[in-house]
Symmetry: C2
Subunit: 517 residues, 2 copies
């Protein structure tokens, strides 16, 4: 079912030069240790007994220290300097990409002073703990000092990393998650997307159409949901001989090592379509990991490009495929076979409608495809302004609620359902949020390009033949690892840099199909 | 339900001396890394996707290398030498025990030349692979060269480790698994045990009693078996907040770190009593791990003494308790509640008889309590003679079968059911087998001593009140870690060194109860 990545043949590193070969070997060794730590992280979220937390933290701290130490030795710096010449002289594009990206990683790792790294690590666990309590108690004041501290630490971090020429501090943070993306470029893409979405939402609201979403929330036994999700995830091409799917509080994907990619999912009786969506979402991440060229594992050319590209893979399977009518033409009979009479009377059309209702709501992680990006763009605006000192953390709730009203037309009832809902800022992750919408944008743009090659795509999906789709992604996206920058890859594939048009057309089309407006 | 170990209060290492404190810290750091590797090992046996094996081996090799490196640095040797004086001057018994045991571990680790360690590692995986094929094909000749190689490597290893004064080479190997035990002392204990067992078996054989064992093999659904075993394992005191129980091909227990002890078990429809026995067995190991003083974790005083003592804990819960009549008086109603009508008509007496049938058979891991030790004593005789050069590996099948006939009265039909059945020699583990019988011997001797304190023990078991039993083991065995040598601990508790009488009396009593002879 799964096809192998069609990576171009890999040059023996030794033929590029002795320093290059030693560099790649040393970097790979650190990656082996890091992969051990990834398995422990997965285990912590899925398997670890309650009382084992302390010992586990100690194991992970020690491994993280060893990995960092190995990646930042002086010898690594010397090798990198010497290998730059070797790679450049070789004319080998993979070697050149590896050197370009290793330089980037090494510089980022060595630019942060140890004292700052330690303070951030310490602050993260304290702030996360404080956030979790503050959110439960709906007590923004209790979280405020930690938010201020995280903004301040992120400012210092950004100063150490350095913003690009002509850029702003925020760029240095964003660049960690979405290399080479800037705040200005983000705004350029987001501004028209926001206007379009607010307008689209208004059209939905005034359409008068009453879309029934009860099918998606019909209570169904969790064990049957698991069988159904696994059946779908297997069919779309996730290789269970090279991976697993288990339960956890928050779904995630951990691509620990070649042949070992682990998905998690969660199930609630009255949310079987959520379980399907998150299952396909994580499987999309997982298939990207499984499609990276294993023979280059431990070097940039064997790694994912950026969070945005990663998210494009998960969102495409979740949305472009998993919320399409042809998908439900294939999937509904399977669902009915597994769930029995509970889905009697459902049709592909009613399932499609039920899976695509649009409804402004307060919580990002529960948002539909249309409103989701509004949540993200709001957070981008807030964190960018806080980092620039234009918005004081203490004024965040007011600014948040005002913007929410403008975009969603709703009054935020409390901070728990407002600016306290996400874990990211408490963890010190500023610059991360936009990558979610980059994922949606890349997904739509790549999906259009794919459609020009796979012209019978709807028919394939309707028959449950997903291999040509996965093959296309393997060849065009996965096989390249980090050889190209995200927007360069996008341009190679689609002929254009990242833009909002395909996503706008996609969302518009969907609303038209479901709401008739 | 579970009580905490009543370890004596732990002295701050810094108060013993700076070298001692640094030594303990450095050793503990290595242990943290080792514990990470233990979790990966568990994962490999229970969770790892098929295609992840290669990456996992690499992770584990690297961690093993790092652990070995850290434990054998020159600095560690200097610290140890300097700390010996500090511990001796302190008069602190725990510190002195730690130093004694760290000296032992450090010397053992540094005595083996790197080249030998590497050859053994390489040979292990090749020999194990060859053994597995040879066993399946019943082809001793195919395994012979590997057996010869492993005997030879073990001889070199023993020469490096060095036998005690007046001892034989085998002692150096045995000492790795059962510190300070010797072949001569083993023989002294085994010889009367063997004579007694052969005689006991003859009595069973000629008793004419026909004990019905069909109850123990009544087919029962695996899911129900799991619930039953978990219920029992929880009741006897394994702490599931500090541990787990999962499935694997071969049951094992991995005490990875404080608060994180993992048991595995296996289930076959027609072997529910086997699942119960192995569940209680592994839980016995697990409760020992959970009872070790967590605040001393990472130093010898926080570790298990020996394989023999470890096995005594598992065998006591499996046999002295799990195969007793009072146990079945408590457990049968629970079993009947879970399994429903399938166990109608069973009584504690018929369950007790069914769980205690004695039947000579070819395979060690399927043996009953009486014949089990004969399997072990045979292997001890074979491996000791091979190491001493008195038995050539090529002559092993003949010697094995001859001894088997003498002890069991049966003709071994093929090597698969004879000298090819166990994995141990292929892995290079010579000197390991006797620890199984040491476990049975220690279990019986400790059980008798416990009975003198807990005089209403049968009554407690009948009521499912296992806490006093576990408490006694916590206080007398677990809390001490490696502070005492195995036989010293045995003498402290029972007033006598290890001996065969208690086991003989225990087995004799059981045969009397079940077979009337």
């Amino acid at each position: 079912m799964t096809t192998t990545a069609t990576a171009s043949s890999t040059t023996d590193p030794a033929s590029i030069g002795p320093n290059y070969a030693e560099l790649l070997g040393a970097w790979r060794d650190a990656e082996v240790l890091h992969s051990a730590s990834s398995v422990l992280m997965w285990d912590m979220e899925t398997m670890l007994p309650e009382k084992g937390t302390e010992a586990r933290s100690e194991q992970m701290r020690m491994l993280a220290g060893l990995v960092h130490e190995r990646r930042t030795t002086e010898r690594m710096g010397e090798l990198l300097a010497a290998a730059e010449g070797e790679a450049s002289a070789s004319g080998d594009t993979t070697a050149q990409a590896n050197i370009r990206e290793l330089r980037r990683d090494y510089d980022q790792l060595t630019k942060l002073p140890q004292s700052l790294v330690e303070e951030m690590t310490k602050t993260r666990s304290l702030a996360q703990h404080a956030w979790s309590k503050a959110r439960d108690a709906n007590d923004f004041a209790a979280f405020l000092p930690w938010l201020e501290k995280q903004v301040e630490l992120n400012r210092r971090k950004a100063e150490c990393l350095g913003a690009p020429a002509g850029g702003e501090l925020y760029d240095a943070l964003l660049d960690q998650y979405e290399p080479e993306m800037t705040a200005a470029r983000t705004e350029e893409i987001f501004t028209p997307l926001r206007a379009f979405t607010v307008d689209l939402l208004e059209r939905v609201r005034t359409s008068g159409a009453d879309v029934d979403d009860t099918l998606a929330t019909t209570p169904l036994p969790v064990e049957q949901q698991k069988r159904f999700v696994r059946r779908v995830v297997e069919a779309i091409g996730f290789d269970f001989e090279a991976g697993r799917m288990d339960d956890s509080t928050h779904p995630f994907c951990e691509g620990a090592a070649p042949g070992d990619t682990r998905l998690t999912n969660r199930y609630r009786e009255d949310a079987w379509c959520d379980a399907l969506s998150s299952g396909m979402h994580e499987a999309g991440h997982g298939m990207y990991e499984q499609g990276l060229p294993a023979e280059r594992w431990g070097s940039p050319a064997g790694e994912a490009i950026s969070l945005g590209i990663h998210e494009s893979q998960s969102r495409m399977w979740e949305n472009q495929i998993g919320r399409s009518l042809p998908f439900w033409e294939w999937a509904l009979p399977i669902a009915q076979d597994i769930f029995g009479s509970a889905l009697d009377g459902a049709t592909p059309e009613t399932m499609h409608a039920s899976a695509n209702t649009v409804q402004p709501s307060f919580i990002r992680v529960e948002a539909d495809e249309v409103t989701y990006n509004l949540h993200i763009m709001l957070r981008f605006a807030m964190e960018r302004a806080m980092l620039a000192g234009e918005l004081k953390p203490k004024d965040l709730p007011g600014a948040w609620n005002e913007r929410f009203k403008a975009d969603f037309g709703l009054d935020v009832p409390d901070d728990r359902r407002g600016c306290l809902q996400d874990i990211h800022w408490s963890m010190g992750a500023i610059g991360y949020f936009p990558t979610y919408t980059f994922g949606n944008l890349y997904a739509a743009q790549l999906w259009d390009a794919m459609g020009e090659t796979i012209t019978n795509r709807d028919e394939l999906v309707r028959r449950g033949e997903f291999a040509p789709i996965l093959d296309w992604l393997r060849t065009n996206v996965h096989a390249h690892g980090r050889t190209y920058k995200a927007e360069d890859l996008c341009e190679r594939i689609t002929g254009k840099p990242l833009q909002a048009d395909p996503l706008r057309a996609y969302l518009g089309g969907k609303v038209k199909a479901v709401y008739g407006v």
